[in-house]
């Protein structure tokens, strides 16, 4: 069979690479100070201000860079929390099974039974606003989805012969769990991570959009979109620039996830 090209992977990879590069650039350099109120208010996009200026005369492009960076950072941390705890819980549950598995799986189920934004709002209202609290709130919400995937993979793989032989040979449990089984869950985990990453960016954007996310004057894509609403008519570039940044970021990683999934199937 002739191996086909994988446009998802290429387009997604390229888009993600460009967005990631811009975000990384944003950590070190932005055309203007993202909080400086130096220019005129509501300048339309121009060579000086690529995406125009906002209601305080701040450069929107600089703020999009910074905001995307904030959103990106939050998403990475959220996925990391979800992934690490998800793997821990999922692997132990999947490998050992039994009563503990039953209880933990039910807890995960009950967490997923709530609409995620609602639960995040509850956690935020207990913890208070702020970047780190958002990370904690969303991180907790993301654990079950990872735990489930990892658990089912572990439950499947533990019955395979090579694991049985490894056990017979007296290999330690930790080694079986993390050097024998875990690498085999990688393809599934990878697509879960990319999808989770997208969801994390969107969740953060929704939270900030609702005014519960990061605090002004710090920027995130969601909070900028929320601010831009008022000026939709007089300064449409504010909402458009921010909205497009979200779309491109999500689209890149969605395509990448799809591409990776296909790649792992063809292999």
């Amino acid at each position: 069979m002739k191996k086909k090209g994988n446009p998802f992977l290429y387009i997604g990879g390229a888009l993600s690479a460009v967005m990631t590069a811009l975000i990384l650039l944003g950590y070190f350099w932005t055309p203007y100070d993202p909080t400086a109120m130096e220019s005129k208010k509501f300048l339309p996009p121009s060579a000086e201000h690529l995406l125009g200026t906002d209601n305080f005369g701040r450069d929107i492009f600089s703020r999009v860079l910074e905001g995307a960076g904030t959103s990106f950072f939050i998403a990475v941390c959220v996925v990391l929390i979800g992934c690490v705890f998800g793997i821990l819980i999922g692997s132990l549950c999947g490998y050992y099974g039994g009563l503990a598995d039953l209880i933990l799986t039910r807890i995960c189920d009950s967490i997923t039974a709530f609409p995620s934004i609602l639960l995040a709002l509850v956690i935020i209202s207990v913890l208070g606003n702020g970047t780190y609290n958002i990370i904690i709130a969303l991180g907790i919400l993301f654990i079950p989805s990872f735990a489930r995937i990892v658990r089912s993979e572990f439950a499947r793989v533990r019955e395979l012969n090579y694991i049985k032989s490894a056990k017979l040979m007296g290999v330690g449990t930790g080694r079986i769990l993390f050097s024998h089984i875990l690498p085999n869950t990688w393809p599934v985990l990878l697509s879960a991570i990319t999808i989770g990453f997208n969801n994390a960016i969107l969740s953060e954007a929704s939270m900030s959009f609702l005014g519960l996310g990061i605090q002004p004057p710090e920027a995130s894509l969601g909070s900028m979109l929320s601010d831009s609403q008022t000026y939709l008519k007089s300064a449409p570039w504010y909402a458009l620039g921010t909205g497009c940044a979200i779309i491109l970021l999500i689209l890149g990683f969605s395509l990448l996830a799809e591409g990776l999934q296909r790649e792992s199937k063809t292999v």
Partner: protein, 515 residues
């Protein structure tokens, strides 16, 4: 097949991101459709209006307990005193039909009006009036009112004339009387079912949703022209604006310049002032704001003119102390210039105070007041120029009331204080050292002395001078970083007439009518 999937993924991503913009997008559609409804309905709308407000009212509606300006703004339509303020700042007879002041300024005689009926149907009698004065003096949270009432040495009732004799003349006595709302005697449900004599009566409330008033048919005077006023509560300023822009509200006050510029539905926009003292209120009891030099440095660091330009296209009045221009003779406009913007001086003062590299602090801002949020964002940027990092923390209004105002658990906060009655004491009483409302913990012996002296001073000019001295002290000690009395933009639906600005933070619904 492949192309379809690409398309599907793209659409899914666009839809996800697009769903976030949905609120903004919906504005346009809703705006378009509401234009149609206003056209088709012509002049045949019901004689009622919907007003958007940005905060829920206090839990208790008992007029002697309620504290928030937003509650008073609404309840002004429900309660009346023997006299009530008009839009010019005068006190006009209300439950009393006539007021007579003796030549020496010591005796006030109020003639009870015939046929004043409470919202519950009972007729207002002298017993109710006396009960109201006693209850107010015993329970009111407004210390300046209680102080004015406690200066009554003799109370006399002759037929339907009630007269008070004071220890000494008090030019603010009528303002205190105006806030002694007349309530039916021995009626215990004021907190949940308020009953007064005002042009509107309370109908119902739904917490965090709406608050409904209806015309009081048996009102003695001209009364309300509208049949019903529904206040809808939007605790998010963007949601409030979107509701207004979509045409579903007839009146919204306290809009920002930006919001006015983006309003599309042909509302009339009226400009007044909010009658609030907006400032960064600094907790004088905690470091580093217990240091006067730090507070002064903050004042120099803030450029109020630049702030007004950024947040309101230059609208708004600079204050400089706890007094706003509607108070006329008490307002001292020179205080606004006491701390001209000077970043170098600010840095020098900070260094002198032991903070050469600045410091960090948190500004708590009620998130439902966009003007305060905008102000805080600009302030944070300006303070950054002198090395002070201000972290903004948006909190909801109830948290603000409980945590910041109640527990004084804050470093800095941006809000506006209004005057409960038209008297300088309403703004100045709170900064006396042991006042329970002294949120910032301001302590200054001279202030306490001058204020106490002002209260007992008979001569009007002398008293005014003393109150002005109080304002100077607040400015000298840089009690807070005073910013502005915000420009108040009110959007009113085009057919609605009769809106009047008051020197107090109230909106008189009885004046409104449809053309």
């Amino acid at each position: 097949m492949m192309k379809k999937r690409i398309l599907a993924v793209f659409l899914a991503a666009a839809a996800l991101a697009g769903s976030l913009c949905a609120c903004g997008g919906a504005t346009n559609q809703a705006g378009a459709s509401s234009d149609e409804t206003t056209d088709s309905s012509g002049g045949s709308h019901a004689n009622e209006i919907t007003v958007g407000i940005s905060q829920d009212l206090d839990n208790s509606l008992d007029p002697f307990v309620t504290n928030a300006a937003g509650t008073r703004e609404v309840m002004f339509n429900v309660f009346e005193g023997l006299v009530k303020p008009d839009s010019q700042g005068n006190f006009v007879p209300a439950v009393a039909s006539a007021v007579d002041v003796s030549g020496d300024g010591l005796t006030y005689s109020f003639t009870l009006r015939e046929g004043v009926v409470f919202h519950n149907g009972s007729t207002c009698t002298m017993d109710d009036v006396l009960y109201s004065f006693e209850t107010c003096a015993a329970t009111s949270v407004y210390s300046n009112v209680v102080a004015a009432l406690s200066a009554i040495v003799e109370r006399n009732v002759e037929g339907n004339v009630l007269s008070f004799t004071l220890v000494e003349p008090n030019s603010d006595f009528l303002s205190a009387v105006s806030s002694v709302y007349i309530l039916p005697k021995d009626y215990a449900d004021q907190a949940t079912q308020p009953v007064g004599t005002g042009p509107f009566k309370y109908v119902s409330r739904s917490v965090q949703e709406n608050f409904i008033l209806e015309k009081h048919e048996a009102y003695y005077g001209e009364g309300a022209k509208l049949d019903k006023v529904t206040y809808k509560i939007y605790e998010d300023s963007t949601a409030l604006f979107n509701a207004l822009d979509s045409g579903s509200l007839d009146l919204v006050a306290h809009l920002t310049m930006d919001q006015v510029n983006n309003l599309s539905n042909g509302y009339q926009v009226l400009e007044g002032t909010m009658n609030l003292v907006q400032a960064i209120y600094l907790n004088n009891a905690v470091a580093p704001f217990d240091n006067e030099l730090v507070r002064q440095a903050m004042c120099y660091a803030v450029d109020v003119d630049a702030m007004l330009n950024l947040t309101a296209d230059g609208h708004g009045t600079r204050l400089g102390s706890s007094m706003y221009p509607a108070f006329g003779k008490y307002f001292d406009e020179t205080l606004a210039e006491a701390y001209p913007h000077d970043a170098e001086k600010a840095k020098a003062l900070l260094a002198q105070a032991g903070y050469p590299d600045g410091f960090r602090f948190t500004i708590k801002v009620p998130s439902n007041y966009q003007p305060h949020v905008d102000t805080a964002v600009v302030l944070a940027e300006q303070l950054k120029q002198v090395g002070i990092t201000a972290e903004i923390q948006l909190i909801d209004w109830n948290t603000w009331l409980e945590d910041v105002y109640g527990n004084r658990n804050f470093e800095g906060t941006v809000v506006g204080f209004d005057a409960s009655v038209l008297s300088p004491t309403a703004l100045l009483a709170r900064w006396v050292s042991d006042s329970s409302k002294n949120m910032i913990g301001f302590r200054d012996e001279e202030y306490d002395e001058v204020y106490a002296q002002a209260l007992v001073t008979v001569d009007d000019a002398e008293q005014t001078a003393l109150f002005k001295r109080c304002l100077e002290i607040l400015s000298e000690k840089a009690a807070n970083v005073y910013t502005q009395d915000l420009a108040d933009f009110v959007a009113v639906s085009p057919e609605l007439k009769g809106f009047e600005f008051y020197p107090l933070y109230v909106i008189d619904m009885s004046k409104l009518y449809f053309e």
